[in-house]
Amino acid sequence: MSIETLVKCEENQVFEQDGSLILDNQYVFIQLPSGNIKVVKLQKDTNVSLGKFGTFHSNGIIGRPFGHSYEIYDRDQVKVIKNVAFYEVDETDANNKEILDDPSKQKLSYQEIEKLKKQGLEGQDIIKKMVESHSAFDQKTEYSKAKYIKRKEAKFSRVFTPVKPTLYSVWEYFFSKNPGKIRDMRIDTLSQILSLANVRAYTKMLVVDDTQGLVVTGVMERLGGYGIVLGIHDSENHNYDIVRYMNFSKKIHDSLMTLSWQQVFKEMQVPFNYQDESTLSEKDLKYYLRRKTDYERIRDTREILWKGEFDGLIVASQYQPESILESLMPYLSGSRPIIIYHINKEVLINACVHMRISKKFLNPQITESWLRQYQVLPGRTHPSMSTSGGGGYLLHATHVIINDSLPTPIPSYMKQKDTLEGADKSSEYHNNNAINETNEKINLEQNVISENYLMNNEELQEVDNKKARLD
């Protein structure tokens, strides 16, 4: 197909509402002149208050595309203002030599500014007035003039920008407001989780999410309604608060299923007492039907979990990773990814050792993401002076299948160990004692061996060589 015919197809194709319009009854993030972000559920025919920056009528932005900035005028009306990336700042001969920190340079007093505001003067005009009455403004360098105006804009401007809820903007809001709630997960780390877990349409993902639903949100978006995300949650009811801010369609919402840790295990099943609906009073029936729906949802979700064949396991939880693996690995297909997030590396180290001792994990490794933002301005390009100190760690591996009926080459030292200690090497992967055992038994010589334990051919050969040297 040529590009031209494809273009025609695209034009005729009606896309689902892709979230590019500001709509009634949907969440929107509003960036304020101060740089802060406010989250609003827009309702038509209402006023939206932005605190000291003013109030606007919601109909002014509903139906418009995301992207533009708006200035409030005439009390609650809005107009689109030209959004500019950056102004070219030319350096002049002015320098900081004569600049003293002296508030008296600004002739306008606080009271006078308030009076101007009452007279109905708008943001930009106030800033203009302030620049005019600043006695030393011309002595400033062009850079500090720009800085001064920017600082005043943050205070007096009435320009706001509705921000489209995307995984990035939703993350940004929660990360800046309360990073602990999302377990300090940075967006680059979250992005890596979604890539490494190969999340895409037509997959069945198992997610253990204690990040207010941030990870589940990312997975749901990448599934796009084609697939299943089964969230295993803490407490009795899930707390995936973040999901709702994305304005997902019903189709995408329907891809989310949830179970509590208690509901994961078969022995915890409480049978439902089915009753004859015609014998119940109206009030009782309502209650009965709700309980029945709940019971059936949980029953069906459990069936889906126990059937297994999941395409990936993502963990971002406060609970011990080894115990989570023990509970959920049986439901994962072969050659599928396992990704465990934690803000504390130490938690992942133990889990990594557990994975190496088990035979079911190929190439477990711990990685850390590093992100740095730069200021790029003509003549003033440099990395940001302060940045996030860490975005958490990932432990990732691939689920592999060892068929014990096939002969597998066992290195000589392993055979020896088997006969000496009678260790059952074919036991289940979740051998809780394995870690303790190794802890106790490892000595200087065995160190080299244990860490490379069943890794791969090349490393095994190398280990054999090392072993030979040690002997």
Partner: protein, 315 residues
């Protein structure tokens, strides 16, 4: 369709990634007539058929083994014939999130290079999105086109051999996101502007290794009306886990004592001391530690992002 749908069992004609070690992987198209030989032994393709993906398969002579992995864009990045510099997972992941890609997104990419990033893009925008990718090197364009066909991605990806800096993209008003990995992205930015769907917000990413390129790119993005111009660097660092023994000062003293004992033994030729000297030797406690590799990736490229603003009715 193995890049777009997972399979459980290996069948004739499947693309399997043969994993020998972290540094040694090979793509195989399963053909029951064929045999795969490597330094770990002989592996018959017909033995793979019917096995579950992820199976550890011993070689025919039992000398070694390999894992039969399902293809993913990440694994493909490892095994892709390196026709050009490839993108790394840290960059790929961050770009995909920042460009707000998801099923249904329409994306423009230039240049295609080895097609490694195209696989990641196609994975994310499937099943109803589309990727238009442009490569000015004719041989490379042909090679990736063949890869996309073999990997069942032809319906999702349109490849064209084209010098976009000179001739533009030939598409207008349809894409949601643009990715430019070109030596001079600023030459393609005006055309990229036209390729965006004009009535909605869009995102662009320019991928350049040098800071001078970034500065020219930012200036061009600014001139062309893009806003929220932001630049990042993203890297991934490994932490290797191992155990180390933690010796104490007492161990150090013991070690000297043992050495002295040995010397004395040699002098005295007295073997009765043997039992006494060995009792000092004790296993030290071990500690799990991590270490970053001595050499790691220090720079891949700078990622410059910007936002395309929807065109207003009066513009």
């Amino acid at each position: 369709m193995s890049f777009l749908r997972y399979k459980t069992l290996i069948e004739e004609g499947d693309l399997v990634i043969a994993y020998l070690s972290r540094e040694n992987m090979t793509p195989l198209i399963v053909d029951s007539q064929k045999t795969y030989n490597n330094k770990f032994g002989t592996f018959k393709h017909k033995d793979m058929i019917g096995k579950e993906y992820g199976t550890k398969m011993p070689s025919h002579n039992g000398r070694g083994f390999m894992y039969l992995l399902h293809s993913t864009p990440e694994l493909w990045t490892h095994v892709v014939p390196h026709r050009t510099q490839i993108l790394y997972v840290a960059d790929i992941s961050y770009i995909i999130t920042y460009l707000d890609l998801k099923p249904g997104s329409v994306v423009l990419e230039s240049g295609t290079g080895s097609g490694s990033f195209s696989h990641s893009l196609a994975r994310t925008i499937a099943p109803n999105g589309h990727l238009y990718t442009f490569e000015f090197h004719e041989e490379r364009a042909k090679a990736v086109k063949k890869d996309f066909e073999e990997h069942g991605l032809s319906d999702l990806i349109t490849v064209e051999c084209r010098d976009v800096c000179k001739d533009g993209f030939g598409i207008t008003g349809i894409v949601h996101a643009v990715f430019l990995d070109l030596p001079a992205p600023w030459e393609a930015i005006p055309a990229a502007k036209g390729a965006f769907k004009q009535n909605r917000i869009g995102k662009i990413c320019c991928f350049s290794p040098c800071i001078e390129q970034v500065q020219r790119t930012c200036a061009s993005l600014n001139e062309n009306g893009f806003v929220e111009i932001k630049m990042y660097e993203c890297l991934m660092r490994e932490h290797d886990v191992k155990t180390i023994p933690i010796y104490t000062v007492a161990d150090a003293i013991n070690k000297i004592k043992i050495q002295q004992d040995k010397k004395r033994k040699r002098k005295d030729q007295n073997e009765q001391d043997d039992a006494n000297s060995s009792k000092f030797k004790q296993d030290p406690p071990n500690l799990y530690v991590t270490k970053t590799p001595n050499e790691a990736k220090g720079h891949t490229s700078y990622l410059t992002f910007a936002t395309f603003l929807p065109v207003l009715d009066d513009e």
